[in-house]
């Protein structure tokens, strides 16, 4: 990129100081931290993906074993914060759980499609952020997959068709590094043949795996040497075994100890070197400048945009932004409308409820009122009854009283008195209710004491004491 500027090369007359630029840049990146995302694909479950991750990063990420009974492939991302010196790494390990476990692998869609979708989704998320009007790319947590470690079953023969198909689907989307897992189950000579077979199959099927970059002189040599060792045959182990006077990570068999970090035993060290210590930054860069750009290009073209001539570019993407903005505003409006509608409905509902309750209460009130009135009426009736009875009673009492006194007088006086008494009687009969209680009380007392000796009703009336309701002679009158 600098060729046409050659003629403008200037030499400096002294130390300026901009050679500190890479340090300035790096120190900013260190403050922000780095992300690195690894996808582990391989079948069957139990091939050693988790163990290898544990061994690579010298930690125990997981302790549980994965189940063998997944009905479909599930992508399970887990993020960890690692720190070494002053470098903070946000490491995300994505496991394709259940890959290859399905009985019907002919439905290969079931196997690799979720993986492809997951990778695309991460690209999509980044693209969405990039297209936003107000965006913050510099502190965006990058979830795009930087490398896919593809675990090959150590059959010793060749690649399975599932492997080929899957890798073919993934090679334009992610950097693939194929790995032969559980390499301690193959003998050295078999391994060599196996590697050659695998590479030739990949080439003949047009699968583009990740090549360690050889353009930078500093690392060209080691990278090209490593390229020749692909696929790496690895063994993973987090257990330590004493060999000589050192504790090393190894797998102990009755016939010997397979040392993970011994290069004559397996390629683990090569993998670690390439993946982490030499090419981690390149893997990230390739993901961003090649795989992501390809995705973006395809996606935008799919949406109907083309780079035709320089003038139309800003328009075409301006249109995208226009439509996006309209979409967004439309969405906003719609949501607003929805919410308003919901609110209105809720208000109506509540109103109706309240009205209902009001009505109910009113009814109850009316009902109670009626009952109350009914009761009142009844009580009023009873009172009237009682009053009438009392009046009648009093009237009769007075009548009886006068008659009694008359009859007493009549026995000792002239018959003329009878007429006068008759008058008095009639007068007495017509006397007002409300005869004083005290006299009726006297009468009642009298009635209780004196014996019942009236033989006829006329006498009884006059006598008054026989007006008692339960007198035997009353029955004739009912």
């Amino acid at each position: 990129p600098w060729q046409n500027e050659e003629k403008r090369n200037l030499s400096l007359g002294g130390h300026v100081g901009f050679d500190s630029l890479p340090d300035q840049l790096v120190s900013k990146s260190v403050t922000q931290g780095f992300s690195f995302n690894i996808l582990c694909v391989g079948e069957p479950t139990g091939i050693g993906k988790s163990t290898l991750m544990n061994t690579l990063f010298n930690t125990t990420f997981e302790t549980e074993e994965a189940t063998h009974y997944e009905s479909s492939v599930r992508l399970r991302p887990r993020t960890y914060d690692l720190q070494e010196s002053n470098v903070h790494l946000k490491l995300t390990i994505v496991d394709a759980v259940g890959f290859g476990d399905q009985i019907n692998k002919d439905e290969r869609q079931v196997s690799y499609r979720p993986i492809v979708e997951y990778i695309d989704t991460q690209f999509e998320n980044y693209l969405q952020e990039e297209l936003k009007i107000r965006r913050s790319l510099f502190n965006y947590h990058d979830t795009r997959i930087h490398v896919c470690l593809y675990f090959i079953t150590p059959t010793g023969h060749s690649l399975k068709s599932l492997d080929l198909v899957t890798m073919k689907k993934l090679d334009s989307k992610v950097n693939i590094i194929p790995i032969i897992a559980k390499a301690d189950t193959i003998s050295k000579s078999e391994l060599h043949k196996f590697k050659i077979k695998i590479m030739s199959e990949l080439v003949s099927n047009g699968v583009q795996i990740y090549q360690f970059p050889t353009d930078d002189e500093a690392v060209a040599e080691i990278n090209s040497v490593m390229n020749a060792h692909l696929p790496f045959a690895v063994v993973g182990s987090t257990e330590e075994v004493k060999v000589g006077n050192k504790l090393v990570r190894a797998r102990q068999y009755p016939w010997g100890v397979v040392q993970v970090e011994n290069e004559s035993h397996c390629d683990f060290v090569k993998l670690r070197e390439m993946l982490i210590r030499v090419n981690m930054e390149d893997l990230r860069e390739q993901t961003h400048t090649r795989h992501y750009e390809l995705y973006r290009r395809c996606k935008l073209e799919e949406m109907g945009f083309k780079d035709t001539d320089p003038d139309s570019q800003p328009f075409s993407l301006q249109e995208t932004y226009e439509t996006k903005r309209k979409e967004f505003l439309g969405e906003l409006q719609r949501k607003e409308e929805e919410m308003r509608q919901m609110f209105v409905n809720k208000v109506k509902e509540t109103e109706a409820e309240l009205k209902e309750k009001e009505r109910e209460l009113h009814e109850k009130f009316e009902h109670l009122k009626r009952i109350h009135q009914e009761e009142k009426r009844k009580v009023e009736e009873k009172r009237k009854e009682l009053e009438d009875e009392m009046n009648a009673f009093n009237r009769r009492r007075v009548a009886v009283e006068t008659l009694q006194s008359q009859s007493l007088q009549a026995t000792s006086q002239q018959p003329l008195r009878k007429d006068r008494d008759k008058k008095n009687r009639s007068v007495v009969t017509g006397s007002q209710p409300g005869v004083s209680l005290s006299s009726s009380k006297v009468m009642i007392t009298k009635a209780n004491v004196e014996p019942l000796n009236c033989t006829s009703w006329w006498e009884a009336i006059q006598c008054c004491s026989c007006l008692v309701k339960s007198a035997p002679w009353r029955e004739g009158f009912l």
């Binding site: 990129p1 300026v16 100081g17 890479p22 790096v26 125990t60 070494e84 470098v87 210590r277 083309k306």
Partner: protein
Amino acid sequence: AGSVESKTEAAMSELVPEPRQKPVVPMKPTGINASLLGYIGIDTIIEQMRKKTMKTGFDFNIMVVGQSGLGKSTLVNTLFKSQVSRKSSGWNREEKIPKTVEIKAIGHVIEEGGVKMKLTVIDTPGFGDQINNENCWEPIEKYINEQYEKFLKEEVNIARKKRIPDTRVHCCLYFISPTGHSLRPLDLEFMKHLSKVVNIIPVIAKADTMTLEEKIEFKQRVRKELEVNGIEFYPQKEFDEDLEDKTENDKIRQESMPFAVVGSDKEYQVNGKRVLGRKTPWGIIEVENLTHCEFALLRDFVIRTHLQDLKEVTHNIHYETYRAKRLNDNGGLPPMTVETEENHESNL
């Protein structure tokens, strides 16, 4: 395992031109939710990144604004220790006083310590030189926005370049005339408008015309005036990332800035050393001597510590503001006309 990794590391360090100091922090691996049991090599990413950036090189675009005769070109040449800016030493008969503000961008490739930098110096002859200087900041603002537009156009391409050429103005040195009194209305107008679109670093030119006391007083007054007028010069308070940044930047904002500078591209012998300076009957003013002027502070600030930050603020904040505004505007606006090669001169 140990042998392979130290061999590669040794090989790598050999090819790096100057030995880099590794970050001085003890290598105690600690994790937050994962505990590390041994060395993995994650910290090598720093080295990997550094190598990559050195390979791609850096762009830096610096603009100088101020009345003619304030020593702008000299200062820039002194900053970069080379003839990056052509001096307009007096008006020749062929050159007329520009009627309006012109924008002249000159690019050079310079290299130091294996680091390649494409430096573009943008000169603004004619600024503040007219009788009526109304709106003379407009062409400058237009130029700055054009660069943002150029970048945006590249960015929204469907098939876009791996590395978008960056012509955006990362830093604008505004030269204040050392009147000793206060800022002129033109200064305030310019800085008010432009501090919103670009990083402005105010600089007191020809500081050798002031005594130490005058200098201190003038600086205080200028700072006060800038504050009163709400002018946020670089480093802007709102972009301080953390407490460390804030304390460091506060010190610069409240004590050192605006830097009172003297520029020179001539060397003299002082105390057995060859230094850049200005020779006067009463002595030699040493440009890089901190007791004489603050040039060294400006140089360290702009180049040695904050260069990357200047670029990042331009990219993450000023450019994003422009982009958001541009995309929010109603569609259908014709693209801005972009000046292409006419104003780029070659340094022959």
